[in-house]
């Protein structure tokens, strides 16, 4: 199990790397010791995903709003937990056709007339094709173009008069150049081609670091200040780099990153699949789905961005944001529109007592302890559950002559002494049973099939058995575990770094997990630490196979 394999290591002193300089020599007397936090092996050419593409063309062309050109693109399907894993994104003929069409549409709009062209250049239109090409290519490639690239693009610029004779050359030239830039691999990918090893890693150059940072925190290209910092070498100086990292993190675009991460981690879009019989669940309506998603998002925004709290609060904060529809599910009166509601009865704490989790992981009529348990093991604890067997028999139907709770039926079928003992009774069922006070829609219940609900169990957190009774106690147990904090950090690393964590990145994960657990470090500070690590600003010497 991953949690056991990645038990905290005795390498936590690596916190010092943040206070030190850039990549050190490794000598004992070196003021910048070799960092323990090394980069993992990853792709050198991550491709922009559709969100990044949309954001980037908006910034690149100084568009007033997102052009929504990716709406008709073939979907990105990576199979990864997060959409930021650019090493799994390819360009096949279908995607290529999408890019070609979008490039032509965008270039046309960006050069429709002199005003549009001026906007595209962010002000004054450079006076010569050479200057125009350099200005556009710098931003499209997110690095200065080489002389050869400039020459090719200037030649292309000059062909506009014959290839597009109905358009004034002043517009046709930049249009053709933009079409080329938007289809260039140096635009569609973010090549990281620095190759000079230093002390066991390859430090990225300023422009590569700028792009890593902006795509991690904004999912978009660097802004002018970051370009300037890259050009001046400022980003090679830790203090200066941190200034920019914090600046980006404070920007509204970073709020979108926080939301996107949690949307994907918690798989909030699955809420749209929830349907319920309104006879059994009169509180249900299609509109309730939107409310459920908004509740989860509002809660995350509040904890992470407003209260500036960490994972512990995400798991245990005794409040949520309800509207009238959710209030009916919660059994709360007096709520008319979305507002913060604090719970004092101890029944509900944090994300995992919200309907967006409880209803999604339920059947249309009953709670679903198994799927609730699997979800938490996978997404919140990284317990490394193996995949289920190929053939999973259905839970035997209820015997009307012998009424039992759902827990009793599951226990009889998958509990200790059964073939499901290995995974179910150890990992899945205990967690799932903790939420048994919540029915298929997330309503509180005291009984199941006429019997009192039993939501008590025990689980091995950090190689120590923790006992709990109910979702609140389970949330507190999780929040007290290194396991959950390491899992959360691991997910953030995957999201921000764009690849599955690898062994060299384990020290960084462990350090931040400790910090998250022991001091309830703010999520924002975890993000800052992740993008400030030496591991973030370098790449491994090794290449992927």
């Amino acid at each position: 199990m991953r949690a056991l394999l990645f038990a905290p290591l005795a390498l936590l002193a690596c916190e010092g790397s943040l206070a030190g300089g850039l990549i050190g020599s490794g000598r004992p007397d070196d003021p910048h010791p070799t960092p323990l936090e090394k980069p993992g092996v990853a792709t050198r050419v991550p491709r922009l995903n559709h969100v990044e593409y949309e954001n980037t063309v908006t910034e690149l062309l100084h568009l007033p709003a997102k052009p929504n050109v990716t709406a008709t693109f073939v979907s990105d399907t990576t199979g990864a937990a997060f959409d930021t894993n650019g090493g799994l994104l390819n360009v096949d003929s279908t995607a290529w056709a999408d890019y070609q069409r979008a490039a032509e549409q965008l270039a046309l709009a960006a050069t429709a007339d002199q005003a549009a062209l001026a906007r595209t250049f962010g002000g004054a239109i450079p006076s010569t094709p050479d200057l125009q090409v350099r200005a556009l290519a710098l931003r499209a490639f997110r690095r200065p173009p080489t002389d050869a690239e400039v020459a090719s693009l200037v030649t292309l610029h000059g062909k506009a008069a014959t290839l597009n004779p109905s358009v004034a050359p002043a517009l046709g030239g930049p249009r053709l150049v933009l079409e080329a830039l938007l289809q260039s691999p140096n635009f569609l990918y973010r090549p990281e081609l620095s190759s000079e090893p230093k002390n066991g890693v390859v430090p990225l150059d300023g422009y590569e670091v700028a792009s890593r940072l902006s795509y991690a925190l904004w999912r978009s290209m660097p802004d002018e200040a970051l370009f300037a910092a890259a050009a001046s070498g400022e980003l090679a100086v830790r203090d200066s780099y941190l200034v920019h990292a914090r600046r980006l993190l404070a920007d509204r675009r970073a709020r979108d990153v926080v939301a996107s991460f949690h949307d994907q981690l918690l798989q909030v879009r699955r809420v749209t699949d929830v349907t319920r019989n309104t006879t059994l669940f009169p509180e249900f309506s299609v509109a309730l789905r939107d409310s459920m998603m908004e509740e989860q998002r509002a809660f995350v925004r509040d904890v992470v961005l407003e209260q500036k709290q960490g994972l512990t609060s995400l798991l245990t904060a005794p409040y949520s944001f309800l509207d009238d529809k959710l209030a009916r599910v919660y059994g709360v009166s007096g709520v008319t529109s979305f507002s913060k509601v604090t719970f004092t009865d101890g029944r509900r704490l944090g994300l995992l007592t919200q309907p967006a989790f409880l209803a999604v992981n339920a059947t249309s009529t009953t709670s679903d302890p198994i799927h609730r348990g699997v979800f938490v093991n996978h997404q919140l604890l990284c317990s490394g559950l193996p995949p289920p067997p190929n053939v999973v028999p259905m839970l035997p139907a209820e015997d009307p002559t012998m009424p039992r709770t759902l827990r009793q039926r599951i226990d009889a079928y998958t509990g200790r002494g059964t073939c499901g003992e290995g995974c179910h009774s150890t990992f899945i069922n205990p967690i799932g049973f903790g939420y048994e006070h919540f029915d298929a829609l997330g309503r509180w219940r005291d009984t199941d099939k006429g019997f009192p609900v039993n939501a008590a169990d025990e689980f091995m957190f950090d190689e120590k058995l923790a006992q709990f009774d109910g979702a609140g106690a389970l949330a507190r147990a999780m929040a007290s575990s290194t396991m959950a904090h390491a899992c959360y950090v691991e997910h953030w690393l995957e999201y921000l770094y764009g690849h599955r964590p690898t062994d060299p990145e384990r020290p960084l994960i462990d350090r931040l997990a400790k910090k998250s657990k022991e001091s309830d470090a703010a999520v924002l500070s975890l993000i800052e630490e992740l993008v400030s690590s030496d591991a973030f600003r370098a790449r491994a010497v090794e290449v992927t196979p």
């Binding site: 056709a97 090719s152 290839l163 597009n164 053709l176 691999p185 090549p191």
Partner: protein
């Protein structure tokens, strides 16, 4: 407009696959399957043939049904129009007396053409009014063999404004498919450039070519970086393939000389270029099959009542429809046309020489399975009427070339004995791979009132 050779060699072919419109045409799903690819083209002539009905002598078919040989067609049957196809004797099926089941008795042309490939009855009326009450076989084949949503190609050599226009292809009951009259437009559409005037399209092609040149250079340079992993290089190679597919496609692109011929036709609806237009559409059809852009084509030669004034052996003939009536009139009263039967026969020969041109084109492309692309095809020539006067529809002539990947037994001359055309359509559909939902051969195409079945004597499959 003028398309330069450079454009042909480096431009048009070089961008074909990268066009979004063409992407949707590529039949990845259907043709990604293991198994032989099969194609069907239906070339239709009008106004009937000279085949021994009524007072006409037999000038079309060999004297007796049976095996076909090149020697027999070119010697014993040399005075028959079908001798024009002697070189392909072993790859041919002659099928005489195919009945169109639903004549209405008012206008033979208007009523015959909607049912020839549908085996369906038609709504009433004259001129363009009658509409087939069923889908045509080209659509059935396209649905089976093309990528989802890819319509068959529908061509016509003839004018737009006419008494009876296109009527072969029906996407659904009473849903006539508009035919493309311009080979150049068809070519541009196949390459994804049909939404703009030809000159604009040419410039778009050249611009895309220039942009692709830049992109390819960048991809190659990036791919060559030593610091990239093998996996990264594979990903970039996939990307490069997506751009470069167009260059690979050059090997199946139209011969530059043919593209020049395509673009030379500036007034495709003109009478004077009619056979040229037919040949260009045949060029495009063979190319489309070879490039796997489509699996089904209809090509209508002339209007419903073909009014073309053909040039035969240097002589401009009267309107073919008049010739077929033997008088200088579209009706039944007019001055006689001297030697009209012979003229009709000569037009029949011309039509079959055009068909032979198609067979030559198909045979010129290689096949991964047989000797050439013709082996993968069912190339069909038919006339929607049986004869001149009285334009009967119970003895229409059909010629099938190619074995459809070995599914058809060729080298035969068969008398269909005035049985309905649905049996022929079932046979052709089955031969090129159309199957019923249960996997059985197609045997129920056309109007439900027709008896189902296939011509098992022509099929090697069951």
């Amino acid at each position: 407009m003028k398309l330069s050779r450079r454009l042909v060699l480096r431009g048009l072919g070089g961008v074909t696959l990268s066009f979004p419109a063409l992407e949707s045409l590529l039949p990845k799903a259907a043709w990604g399957q293991v198994g032989r690819k099969r194609f069907a083209i239906f070339v239709r002539a009008g106004n009937g043939i000279v085949q021994g009905s009524g007072s006409d002598p037999e000038r079309f078919w060999p004297d007796t049904p049976g095996p076909l040989t090149t020697a027999g067609l070119s010697t014993t049957s040399a005075d028959r129009a079908t001798s024009e196809l002697a070189a392909y004797a072993s790859q041919l099926i002659f099928l005489k007396n195919v009945r169109l089941q639903f004549p209405r008795g008012s206008c033979g042309h208007a009523e015959a053409i909607p049912q020839v490939l549908t085996a369906a009855s038609q709504t009433g009326g004259t001129g363009n009014t009658p509409r087939a009450r069923g889908m045509s076989i080209d659509w059935k084949i396209a649905q089976a063999n093309n990528a989802p949503g890819t319509a068959p190609l529908t061509f016509m050599a003839g004018p737009r404004q006419t008494y009876i226009g296109e009527g072969l292809s029906w996407s659904a009951p009473e849903m006539r498919t508009t035919a493309e009259r311009s080979p150049l437009n068809a070519f541009m559409r196949l390459t994804g450039l049909a939404s703009a005037p030809p000159e604009v399209q040419r410039l778009i092609v050249e611009r895309r070519k220039s942009v692709n040149d830049f992109v390819r250079d960048q991809l190659r340079e990036l791919s060559g970086k030593a610091q990239l992993s093998a996996n990264d290089k594979r990903r970039l190679a996939l990307h490069l393939d997506a751009v470069r597919d167009t260059e690979l496609r050059m090997t199946c692109d139209l011969d530059p000389a043919q593209v020049t011929q395509v673009q030379a036709i500036t007034q495709p609806e003109s009478n004077d270029v009619r056979p040229e237009v037919v040949r260009r559409f045949m060029d495009l059809s063979a190319w489309a099959f070879h490039c796997q852009l489509n699996s089904a084509v209809t090509l209508q030669v002339g209007e419903g009542n073909d009014q073309t004034m053909y040039d035969v052996n240097g002589t401009r003939y009267p309107r073919f429809h008049w010739i077929s009536h033997r008088i200088n009139s579209d009706g039944d009263m007019g001055t006689p046309i001297p030697n009209a039967v012979e003229l009709h026969h000569q037009v029949d020969r011309l039509q079959l020489r055009l068909f032979k041109y198609l067979l030559d084109r198909l045979a010129a492309y290689p096949s991964a399975f047989g000797a050439n692309l013709l082996d993968d095809c069912a190339a069909v020539w038919m006339n929607d009427l049986g004869n001149g006067p009285p334009h009967s529809a119970d003895n229409t002539p059909w010629i099938i070339a190619g074995s459809a990947g070995g599914s058809l037994r060729t080298g035969l001359f068969v008398d269909h004995q005035k049985k309905p055309n649905n049996l022929v359509l079932n046979t052709l559909g089955s031969a090129v791979g159309v199957r019923k939902a249960n996997g059985a051969l197609l045997d129920d195409f056309g109007e439900a009132s027709l008896a189902p079945g296939v011509l098992s004597n022509l099929l090697t499959i069951s």
